[in-house]
Amino acid sequence: MNDNTKHTSQEIQALSDWFQSMQWKAFPFQVQGWQAYHKGDNGIVNAPTGSGKTYSLLLPALQQANASTKKGVKVIWITPIRALAKEIKLSAERAIQGLSLGLSVDIRNGDTSTSARQKQDKLPPDLLITTPESLHLLLARKGFDKRFKGLQAVIVDEWHELLGSKRGVQMELALALLNHRIKGLRIWGISATIGNMETALSVLLGDDANRGQLIRADIHKSIEVKTVIPSDIASLPLAGHLGIHQVEAVATIIHQSQSTLVFTNTRNQCEMWYQKLIDYDPNLIGLIAMHHGSLDKELRSWVEGGLYEGKLKVVVCTSSLDLGVDFRPVESIVQIGGPKGVSRFMQRAGRSGHSPGATSKIYFVPTHAIEMIEGSALRQAIAEHSLESRLPFIQSFDVLVQFLVTLAVGDGFFSKEVYQAIVKTHCYAQIDEEEWRWCLRFICDGGGSLQEYPDFRKVEVDNEGRYVVRSRRIAMRHRLSMGTIVSNPVLWVKFKGGRSIGTVEEYFISGIKEGDVFWFAGRSLQLVRVHDNTVFVKNTKRKTGKTPAWAGGRMPLSSQMSKMLLRKLHEAANQDLFTDEELIQMKPIFDYQRKYSMIPKKNELLIEYFEDREGLHILCYPFEGRNVHEGMAGIIAHRIAQIRPITFSIGMNDYGFELLTDQSLDVESIFSQELFAPEEVHEALNTTMNASQMTRRQFRDIAAIAGLVFTGFPGKPKKDRHIQATSQLFYNVFESYEPNNLLFRQALHEVMERKLEEGRLRDTLERIQSMDICMVNTHKPSPFALPLLAERIREKFSTESIEDRIRRMELEILKG
């Protein structure tokens, strides 16, 4: 036994002793973490929340920090959610005391006061708990060497949450730079289980990934899924997404449980359900609360506190309560409407029955009859542990140029050094020298078509070749606009007295007038006036009114869920196969579907069509999620239009899409495998108008991250219209004069990869090539068709001349 391993075993003994003194038992994965850390490895600990994952890495990191004689921060602990910082700090302090270490701990994030920051700068803590954004802000300050010379490790908590986002890219960049400059730096991540753990490791460690360890906790929790089916199946509507008719069943669950969380899919749905539950049972007043991302922070922390102390009986919420909020396990979890993803559903289920070995129980409330099948698909996916992957961003030039300006605002940087560091990341492994030079030009003078404008001359090169920002104004503006979360522009809702309630989107307020009543945060509010970015309101007893909707509500069905759904349908198609409660209950609906149409087996693609007053409806059901359907519908419409000029109105949901036209078409002869050919998908997507509209929207965020548009000072955000207008203007300029602009190309790429899921679309088309296309003239809408026909958001597609179209249209006139 050499000195080193002897030392390690002493350290581990110390930890075991402390655990014993606390009457805890160390999980195998915790001990593995301690050993790997002390050995000097990097890697990921894969463990669920509430399993003791923090101590698997925090403890050895503290021990190592204690052995250091250097000054400054030794360990940086990254937590993506501010709310978790306090909990980590408490855990660390308890360990420091228990292990008799002489270490200090502090938090630095958006909530940290200026004076506390100054204190930290003078006397840095040994363990710094911070966020990716605050870490970048540290890089935007002078004195890198002094600040980080003692750094031994960076540990990234909740890495799965960062992975598929640009905050993850931000993390990659900071890690690459620190790793490049600090010899022997340890990098660790903590992640819940996702579909692509290996990728998670290689993104965290970049080039060094093959030297990384993946330590799996393998703690599986049993989850029981109970689909709430009304006794009279016919009372479930065949379309709709609110699910309000199930209020009685949900109220019963609430009454039978000590405490309940009701998860909804959108903020709008959350508001509606809160309202309906109170209407149904006024006794809940005082025991029920609501939690979603547009409510004021104070209101939310009050709700979180109430949950923590067990004062609330029921909270209606959205994904805002998915993570980062610590509270006692609740007894029952209710999910309204399909959660669309397996991981999200399991995470929500995990909010109940925390004790080891306990079964988590979750009620799934379908909002329409066909959705019941999602309950049985979810159960299957959980049984097979089929979890979604998180797709990391690659070539995010917006984050890179922001990072470069950050470094220039700090100590300044040399091109060669930073290039060497960033090509080791997963995100920028493919960057070539030309692209790198473009980024440098961009931060110096805007590059290409923006060279004329002094606003974009941010960075200069000094005599030694160092890239620096000299202007204090530019430096200040940059620090204020750093970050990768581009929030939707909002208006603050406040009482006349000044108390804040939350935020709504501009377009919602533009639809209501002074004196109008709307429902928000569980109250009836009357609009008093709108001033700058604030909507002043007062309480009112009047009950009628609109409920705000917020953009970006709905997630598409994940491909894991798709596969399970298709399997369940196949079982339903072969009547004797199914044993699931949901499928048995759905028998009348399946019978009905079979009578007017058919249920597709796994090798069949169903296409229904019928004609009515509105025109010819063509409905196609690939069950691949709304994103894929949107792209596919566009391509099919585009290909039919090659045969003849035509106009379509296009609707889609997670099960399929509808093409509606006022022209007549011979469906049976037009629809064939050829129409679904996977060739030239990219080109076809590009020519459909949806792609360019989506790209414009995507570009808005990219422009903000890259610093092209200034979104305003904190608390004084610019109006959405202005940001929109300026980012649109840039988009137009790049489109016409600089199509090779990397930010413009990035927007196209992100839309293809993320919004239209081009890869998944191509896979689906390929799958269809070997399937039987089954066409049925249903003469009237089938049960599958009804939810699709009810979709209100529709896309338009036309290759006809306007004159031809007008000839078949009528002027909309004043009635009466």
Binding site: S649, L660, L729, K796, R805, M809, E810, L811, E812
Partner: protein, 213 residues
């Protein structure tokens, strides 16, 4: 397309213009030149293709009709003095035998001398031949036929299969004709006409009547 309204013949042009043969006059609604260059204030001066296109459309109309007079029904120039005005007045001056008259609108805020230099006469309104040319609509003008702009009228066409299209239009009521905005850049105000209103859509090449009978 030629129509008769208030005892006069009128030629509706697909390029959102109105020609009055009796007085050999071309009449144009809101032009809003210079509007695009507003963005200069944001520190971004970008050549705007639509602005150029509007100028070209105007030039073609002047060449097509060779009118002796042009009436601009207000909101000719949507800004303070800037480079866009220069390119506009150069065009106007090159057609100098034509009399240009601006009926002043709410956005026309240039100095008198600027208009004078471009050879444009500025009037609050014109009353002639039983007609009243004004910027804003006037509901009751004592039996005069009012020709105006200002509101950028538009309508909605609906078809089967959830089809819905918005168009700018000539909005012809019994005593009032509202012209579409001439500029392609501005939005429109959607109107729901009564059955008695005649609606004509300028389609570039031609004009299509869509009045509901």
């Amino acid at each position: 397309m030629t129509i008769t309204w208030h005892n006069h013949n009128w030629t509706l042009d697909g390029e959102r213009a109105l020609y009055w043969p009796l007085r050999d006059t071309l009449i144009l609604g809101d032009l809003h030149f210079g509007r695009s260059t507003h963005f200069q204030r944001a520190g971004i001066a970008l050549t705007d293709e639509t602005h150029k296109k509007d100028l070209l459309r105007l030039k073609r109309l002047l060449e097509k009709y060779r009118p002796s007079t042009v009436y601009f029904l207000g909101d000719l120039f949507h800004s303070e003095y800037n480079a866009a005005w220069q390119s506009f007045s150069n065009l106007i001056l090159s057609f100098s035998p034509i009399d240009f008259v601006l009926i002043q609108g709410n956005h026309d805020i240039l100095y008198r001398t600027d208009y004078a230099k471009a050879g444009i006469e500025v009037l609050p309104f014109i009353q002639e031949e039983g007609l009243l040319f004004n910027h804003e609509p006037i509901e009751d003008a004592n039996g005069l036929g009012v020709l105006c702009g200002h509101i950028h009228p538009g309508i909605i066409m609906r078809g089967k299969a959830k089809q819905r299209l918005k168009f700018p239009c000539f909005y012809v009521q019994e005593d009032q004709m509202i012209l579409p905005a001439f500029t392609l850049l501005a939005g429109m105000k959607v109107l729901r006409p009564k059955r008695s209103v005649r609606v004509y859509l300028p389609m570039g090449e031609n004009v299509q009547e869509v009045t509901k009978n």
